[in-house]
């Protein structure tokens, strides 16, 4: 089948490329929808398949024929190549964020998907975390008035897989971790026009830790700042935001979530995957949204243009870190179909 999106069959047939840490977040979401998953990976596919009851493909050629949707959960620098290959075979694509290592590659993937007529969803899962959605709703309802100063913070123990610290592969903490909040800054606060960033890395190659701070000027006059840390092994995962406008402020800190108090012996230290506080995993909500969008042909909460934009801002931050100077970002070219502008007070 070439060039045309295949008709949806029931159950959904998903080809998973990659079997690393994040695959464990995606797989339950697909399974909850009754999807049949075939996994292809250079390593770990049989273990993953055994754990969740998946099929295994030993090669990409073996993977393509039996699936309708490709879900890419590989290291960042391989995203574009897999996405273009899948699109070329007429598959819909779900791709873990960032959409690609560069904005140019991300745009090429979006362009290819549009040309081919398949759906493309960069998996910006934070858009599916209920606290961020609640904040977006509250801003739209005028709770804080005109947005003035937003701050976002995200931290965890440094990831163990070495590729996260290889800038050519992952883009480092800015492109991998902080891209979540860079995306939120625009989703909640409207288009960014200027980016300044600093980054500090220590601990050598054996036990690297890194922190970065990004300051954003938005077109509306809003200032955002984003703080990311991949810290010591003792640092638990947490994230927070503080969204101030001229009539109010919205605050959330996952470290203060008091929904559940439980005390058990420690299982494992640190860990960098977002824990979920509620009964429903945001990853599963996200995957369900993508599956619904594929079946209905309607929009999802995040689309390809959003993915390109997030990479573009992260790229500007990396350029700022490199040059030590602020970097201007071009205004958003296309109107994002998934973004209801009336929801964003800053644009009003």
């Amino acid at each position: 089948m070439n060039g045309v999106a295949p008709p949806m069959t029931t159950p959904l047939r998903v080809g998973l490329i990659g079997a690393g840490a994040i695959s464990h977040a995606h797989v339950p979401g697909w399974l909850a929808l009754g999807a049949r998953i075939t996994v292809y990976s250079q390593a770990g596919s049989h273990e993953l398949a055994a754990r969740y009851g998946l099929e295994v493909a030993e090669s990409l050629d073996e993977l393509w024929p039996g699936v309708d949707v490709i879900d890419i959960v590989t290291p960042t620098s391989t995203h574009a190549e897999f996405a273009l290959a899948a699109i070329g075979r007429g598959k819909h694509v779900v791709c873990e964020k960032p959409l690609a290592r560069t904005a140019a590659d991300s745009a090429a993937v979006v362009e290819a998907a549009e040309r081919t007529g398949v759906r493309l969803f960069p998996a910006h899962v934070v858009r599916y975390f209920p606290e961020f959605l609640a904040a977006r709703g509250a801003i739209a309802a005028g709770r804080i008035g005109r947005p003035a100063v937003f701050r976002f913070r995200r931290q965890s123990a440094a990831p163990q897989a070495a590729w996260f610290f290889d800038d050519a592969v992952s883009g480092g903490i800015v492109m991998d971790q902080m891209i979540h909040d860079l995306d939120q800054a625009e989703w909640l606060g409207g288009p960014v026009r200027r980016v300044f960033a600093r980054l500090q890395r220590r601990g050598g190659a054996v036990a690297p830790v890194v922190a970065a701070q990004v300051v954003l000027d938005h077109e509306s006059g809003l200032i955002s700042h984003v703080h990311g840390t991949w810290g010591s092994p003792a640092l638990p995962f947490s994230y927070s935001f503080d969204l101030a406008g001229d009539t109010g402020v919205l605050r959330f800190d996952s470290a203060r979530d008091d929904t559940v108090r439980a005390v058990f012996p420690p299982v494992e230290p640190g860990g960098y995957l977002p824990e979920t506080s509620g009964a429903e995993s945001p990853y599963s909500v996200e995957i369900a949204d993508f599956a619904r969008a594929i079946r209905s042909g309607g929009p999802a909460r995040v689309d390809g243009a959003d993915g390109v934009r997030a990479v573009r801002i992260a790229e500007a931050a990396l350029e700022s870190i490199e040059r030590g100077l602020p970097v201007e970002v071009q205004p958003t070219g296309e109107v994002d179909a998934s973004t209801d502008d009336t929801l964003i007070g800053a644009r009003a």
Partner: protein
Amino acid sequence: MNRTTEPLRIGILSFAHPHVEAYARSLLARGVEVFGTDLTPYDAGTQRGAELAERLGIEYLDDVDAVLARAPHGVIVTAENARHRELALAAFAAGAHVLCEKPIATEPADALAMVEAADAAGVTLMTAYPVRFAPSFRELVARVRAGQFGEILAVSGTNNGKIPLDRSWFTNEAAAGGGALVDHVVHCADLLDELLGETAQEVYATANRILHADRGVEVETGGVVSIAYPSGVIATIDCSWSQPDSAATWGGLTLEVHGTRGSMRIDPFAAHISGYGTGGATWDAFGSDLDELMIDEFLGAVGDSRAPVPDGSVGVRTLAVVDAAKRSVRSGLPEGVHATA
């Protein structure tokens, strides 16, 4: 000075800064003889001058000369920022040690002149940075000194509060030297100075005027400052007046430090009992009174003729961060920090 035979005499010059109330209370509670004078202009609807002195229970004198004629051992300057230099220099000339409200001045040259004048007069200058005395900050410093952080990478500071509109000089460029950048960067900058033991090197800052725009405020009301230190440590300070008027407390300050071996966040004003009253949410703070601890340090330094901590030189260095931030907002570029003290 002989402390066994006479109580300390402390003069207060100007009641322009509302902190004067806490300082006066702390001084009186310690048996100090307190007198002062106020300097116009006063905002309509505010209690100032002799009336305020009477309410606080301190003696009111006619003018600055009258205060200095009492030969105070120490003087507290709680004037508008732009007046700090003039009043501090008068106090030094009278042989008094000075506790100066922050920021130490509006212009770096003024701050430097104050430090030099104190040295020349053989008296000391202390900058009013009460958060230095917070037990949580002391614990943070102790852990840093003990090496528990390994190498420090990054610090994130916030100092958000309600806009101080009841005293209009806070939002007057000439009297205050600026807005939120001037009012709220220095506290975190001071904590960073103490924590890192190095002087800020380069500052990038951005500011806006969205908060309180409806009240005709002309100075910046929101701002974020990004600082690089010579060791490579990076830091930010959110100095925005972003605590809404409807909030149950004035605002707060937080500092989060990340190192190769550990991380720590402090929120020295977090301790409180929360609830709901007839006016909505309530906030009753408890814990150490940082103003009292700071006054104790000042009185101790005055009584023992020793250098106070934080001193005037950190006032100069922290003002230099503000100065670089203001230049950066104008230029849109990172600016070097010119600190000489």
